[in-house]
């Protein structure tokens, strides 16, 4: 039980990290971007590529960070991956979503994003192959915190949980305390009024994509660190991410984190009462229950 509880929180942290970026994009750009999950894959693979590059360049970088299974070169690679994924997101917007935003409803954008995710996922599959891979082939063993009740935890996972919390707080501060944050919030609430107040819509949208892409990259990296890289990792994650964002309430950063934890906990604790075969349905039943009580999610506001 204790272990399941912890597992849920740790798995949920990764989901929370991914859901923060998703909820931000959904809030600011006002459509359910199904290709967001592919940005997670893209970020993870960018990190893999640059890790290899840095690793080859310098021996010093191959050292591991204290406690973690992450090397310095991988840590640097993640930063580059964040920038590149953000840029890719902005470019995809330029090519596809910008035009649709002007001419069509949000549903058209949703399905365009489906199309985009098919393209991105399979390009990754062509370039990197379909097999799964890892940043580090050594298995990181869990530390036993307690034997009875059994509690096993990996340092990487604690790190990811802390990272999710730090990013949550940082992002919340940026959105509520800085004028860049005001700009993003303003565009999300009312793009026309934002323009009337001197906000450059195009630049803000690009900024939102950069931010969303960067967050996706770091979430993808964390997922891959804990599990594996595979071209379909985004596809596997997308539903849980949406579940987290929606349970939390679209647009709420805290909501996304809480939603991630809820979905993680739900799928972890569910196995205590139901057979594992039914597990995929669990997050969604949680959503149904949540929405039945709070139709706009836990922290969401009606539009």
């Amino acid at each position: 039980m204790l272990q399941s509880l912890f597992d849920g929180i740790l798995v949920g942290s990764v989901l929370a990290l991914g859901a923060i970026g998703l909820t931000l994009i959904m809030h600011i750009l006002r459509f359910a971007n199904f290709s967001h999950a592919e940005l997670l894959s893209l970020g993870a693979y960018f990190a893999l590529t640059f890790d290899a590059v840095f690793g080859a360049v310098s021996n010093v970088l191959v050292q591991k960070l204290p406690w973690l299974s992450v090397t310095w070169s991988l840590a640097c690679a993640v930063l580059i991956a964040m920038a590149l994924t953000g840029a890719t997101a902005a470019i995809i917007d330029l090519l596809v979503f910008r035009r649709l935003r002007r001419l069509a409803g949000p549903l058209t954008m949703v399905f365009a994003s489906f199309g985009v995710s098919l393209i991105v996922r399979n390009v990754i599959g062509l370039v990197y192959g379909l097999r799964s891979t890892h940043y580090n082939n050594d298995i990181v063993f869990a530390m036993m915190i307690s034997a009875d009740p059994l509690l096993l935890v990996k340092a990487d996972q604690i790190f990811i949980m802390c990272l999710a919390l730090v990013i949550m707080v940082a992002l919340h501060l940026v959105l509520t305390r800085t004028s860049i944050g005001y700009t993003l919030l303003a565009v999300s609430e009312n793009p026309t009024l934002a323009q009337v107040n001197g906000i450059n819509l195009g630049a803000t949208v690009r900024l939102a994509w950069m931010l969303g892409g960067g967050l996706a990259a770091i979430a993808g990296f964390c997922y891959a660190l804990n599990n594996q890289l595979s071209p379909v990792m985004g596809r596997d994650l997308v539903l849980s991410l949406f579940a987290a964002a929606i349970v939390g309430g679209i647009g709420s950063i805290y909501g996304a984190v809480l939603g991630g934890l809820i979905v993680g906990l739900a799928s972890s604790l569910a196995l205590i009462i139901i057979p594992a075969g039914y597990k995929p349905a669990i997050p969604f039943l949680i959503i149904l229950a949540t929405l039945y009580v709070r139709p706009n999610g836990l922290f969401g506001q009606s539009r």
Partner: protein, 320 residues
């Protein structure tokens, strides 16, 4: 030539079966604004319902009542309707994204049951052994396929005419009123919740009919047939075709389904042999491109809903 006719018969059979489901979705989304993310749940209810009621008995398993075909088909459709009623009562008050994810969850739950509840649904290996109606009587397989296509066309035309009549009726205007402005509809003295639920159930029953025909055609159904990708395919057909327009929905089905399978055929026909192994991935990329480019070229679908442009434009600017 005979081969081509045989293939086209098959192609249109599947495409038009899917078109029926797309019409059902069009009633829900196009006319009423209900974002049903669980199309496949109602499709599955129709398909499984049919085979469970009309199939032969299976050892140690529920179902297999061997009922006459039409009763079994109606039973499947009814099952979809009942499922929609239960789901609808709980969810139709939700808006857009929230409704979509809730109904999506229902679809996943249904798929889980189909995959795991072996006693009820045959589990992952699916349900088989269903006798297609009149197949033995017709005898010749090609002729049977052709006759089956005719039956599908009759069903499609029937659903199309019924829906056109429905949306032109006062009830149809209410649907659009609910879609555009719930409060206005309320002020007309109608309960939007009731109207939304009615449209949801009718649309789901149409999807159930589509599922029933699908299961009849293959005489087999398994959890693989009701994967979430089907919901996506049906949605893509509607959006590409133009939601709010029944003819657009059918055209969209043919275009998306044609592009989906045609891209695979084109790759085997034109791509060099060395590339065949990668054709699967490339085909997906092509499918993605087809969807994205069609939407970029016709953002409101190939045959958009017939609205006066000024109204649309003004309201969309106003909304922003």
């Amino acid at each position: 030539m005979i081969g081509l006719i045989s293939y086209l018969t098959f192609f249109f059979t599947i495409a038009l079966i899917l078109a029926i489901a797309v019409l059902g979705l069009n009633l829900q989304w196009g006319f009423t604004g209900l974002f049903n993310g669980g199309v496949v749940a109602f499709f599955a209810a129709g398909a499984y319902g049919l085979i469970m009621l009309g199939g032969p008995a299976r050892a140690n398993e529920f179902g297999g009542f061997d009922l006459p075909y039409l009763i079994a088909l109606a039973g499947g459709v009814l099952l979809s309707g009942v499922l929609a009623l239960v789901v609808g009562l709980a969810t139709t008050r939700l808006r857009h994204d929230y409704l979509a994810i809730a109904t999506f969850g229902v679809a996943i739950a249904i798929e889980s049951v189909a995959r795991n509840a072996e006693y009820l649904t045959g589990g992952a290996k699916g349900l088989r052994g269903f006798e297609r109606p009149l197949e033995a009587w017709v005898g010749q397989p090609q002729l049977y396929s052709f006759l089956f296509l005719c039956v599908v066309i009759v069903c499609l035309v029937g659903v199309y005419i019924a829906l056109e009549k429905l949306v032109d009726s006062p009830f149809g205007r209410l649907l659009r009123a609910v879609r555009e402005n719930e409060r206005a509809a309320q002020s007309l003295g109608k309960s939007p919740a009731h109207i939304r639920l009615t449209a949801f159930v009718i649309g789901a029953m149409i999807m159930g009919l589509s599922g029933g025909l699908y299961a009849t055609f293959y005489a087999f159904i398994s959890p693989q047939d009701i994967a979430p990708i089907l919901t996506f395919q049906i949605w893509a057909m509607l959006i590409v075709g133009g939601s709010g327009n029944n003819r657009g929905a059918i055209l969209g089905t043919l275009v998306v389904w044609g592009g989906w399978v045609g891209s695979g055929w084109a790759l085997t026909a034109f791509a060099p042999a060395s590339m065949q192994l990668y054709a699967g991935s490339i085909q997906y990329i092509l499918i993605g491109c087809i969807i994205v480019f069609t939407l970029l070229a016709r953002p409101r679908g190939l045959l958009p809903e017939r609205l006066t442009t000024t109204q649309y434009a003004e309201s969309s600017v106003e909304k922003r």
